[in-house]
């Protein structure tokens, strides 16, 4: 729609998604407890304090990725249940705006989740965040979240109209988000000071996360429209 500026559409779509989340509380009442349970299960399975401390960074991001699938499915179920995504498409609403709006809502939800999980890792796995590493950790979380939100929205939109999307989405997403898992884990380990890593060792991985977010951000802006078209 010509009268729709991309940013206005993004703002309206993000506000709508967050309002629906605030009302349904799926993330706070279901996804966050699920992710916390995953963290506890990891602790039971590994059952070794030293090991848990060493792999704590990776476990935080694994739990985030598992939860990501649920959040993305939910993000697109609200669009497809009664044909709302079709209605947006029919109305010619700027697809780049829809992409940005849904990604922005995902960013907020993922940041809440990740903050809880990092807190959980500190309590359960006894990892420690060095005061000098807080900037690294926050930057890592922001960029990883941005990348996950972009790629999640892109693939969520792709799978939204497909049969078997519940099983298809993880299959599509997992290979695509492997760089985020690796980069975020390494940067988080540096922030936690695991195995003698220092903060400066985390920044190159943050660079990888920035490149990933930029590639999928730009790719998503241009590809989301054709993907949700017939």
């Amino acid at each position: 729609m010509k009268s729709h500026s991309t940013l206005r559409v993004a703002r309206v779509v993000a506000a709508k998604d967050l309002r629906i989340e605030m009302r349904s509380r799926v993330v706070t009442n279901q996804v966050v407890p699920f992710a916390a349970l995953v963290m506890v299960m990891f602790a039971f399975a590994l059952d070794d304090d030293t090991m848990l401390e060493r792999v704590g960074g990776g476990l935080v991001w694994l739990a985030t990725l598992f939860s990501l699938f649920i959040i993305i499915q939910r993000s697109f179920v609200i669009e497809t249940t009664d044909g709302a995504l079709d209605a947006l498409r029919v109305a010619g609403v700027d697809a780049a705006g829809i992409f940005l709006g849904k990604a922005a809502a995902l960013v907020v939800q993922l940041l809440i989740l990740e903050t809880t999980l990092v807190g959980g890792a500190i309590v359960l796995y006894r990892v420690q965040v060095q005061p000098t590493s807080i900037v690294l950790l926050v930057t890592c979380m922001l960029l990883a979240t941005l990348g996950l939100a972009f790629v999640g929205t892109l693939f969520g939109g792709l799978a939204a109209g497909m049969r078997g999307r519940e099983t298809l989405l993880p299959l599509l997403l997992l290979p695509a988000i492997a760089p985020v898992l690796i980069g975020a884990t390494k940067a988080t380990e540096a922030a936690f000071g695991i195995s003698g890593m220092v903060t400066s060792e985390g920044w190159p991985w943050v660079g990888l996360l920035a490149v990933f977010a930029a590639v999928f951000g730009v790719g998503g802006l241009s590809a989301f429209g054709p993907l949700i078209e017939e």
């Binding site: 709508k16 009302r23 609200i78 009664d82 044909g83 709302a84 079709d86 010619g92 609403v93």
Partner: protein
């Protein structure tokens, strides 16, 4: 395009793979009409509505909707038409007012336009604050029509709009459509509710085997 015509198609062809879903459709829709597309399942009614909305590409022939050539400029048509299919396109966790407000914010409509759209659909203040998930089928349909109003859709394309509604809901819908036309909209609907829709329509065309026969 002939003045007064909202839709003009001449030998328009739509194909799904190798299957011709519309095999040379020729018909016009004038401004202010309520046009009924009548035909059996699979006749091509839904495809014709989707083609008019610029969703399904026309591969041959000519097709102009609201002054835009659908073969070269179908995206420009979309924001001026409203297509209401079997789904309502609503968010069940939001209230009626929030659903309508969502669309109004997308198109830059004012709060006054929201209130006017709700009033036109007979949605009072109490009902407007009820979550869509708790509404009857008729109330949901009124909400989705309010979205068309607030979007300022000039051409309403309705696929089985009476489906799922009780008698009262159907009466209300008919009144809303007549009022929409009186307010300047044009309506094309496909329906199996033959008698009711014929009373509502100003003209009936028969769709059969992907072709259109004007019975006016």
């Amino acid at each position: 395009m002939t003045p007064g015509n909202i839709v003009e198609m001449h030998d328009a062809v739509v194909v799904y793979g190798d299957y011709p879903a519309l095999a040379g459709v020729t018909f016009n829709v004038s401004k202010g009409e309520i046009l009924l597309l009548q035909g059996a399942n699979g006749a091509g009614k839904t495809t014709l509505l989707r083609a008019c909305a610029g969703l399904t590409p026309i591969v041959r022939g000519t097709a102009v909707v609201l002054g835009h050539d659908l073969r070269t400029d179908r995206n420009s048509v979309r924001h001026r038409v409203g297509l209401l299919g079997h789904n309502n396109g609503l968010f069940s966790d939001l209230t009626i007012r929030e659903n309508v407000t969502f669309w109004s914010r997308l198109v830059g409509a004012s709060d006054e336009e929201i209130e006017a759209a709700l009033e036109r659909m007979g949605i009072d203040g109490r009902l407007a604050n009820v979550r869509v998930g708790e509404l009857s089928a008729g109330q949901k349909r009124r909400c989705s029509l309010a979205n068309l109003v607030v979007r300022r859709a000039e051409l309403w394309l309705l696929d089985e709009p009476h489906a799922g509604l009780d008698t009262r809901g159907r009466d209300e819908l008919d009144a809303i459509l007549r009022q929409a036309v009186a307010s300047g909209a044009t309506v094309v609907l496909a329906s199996h509710e033959i008698e009711r829709s014929r009373q509502l329509a100003t003209r009936v065309v028969q769709v059969s085997g992907g072709q259109v026969r004007d019975r006016s």
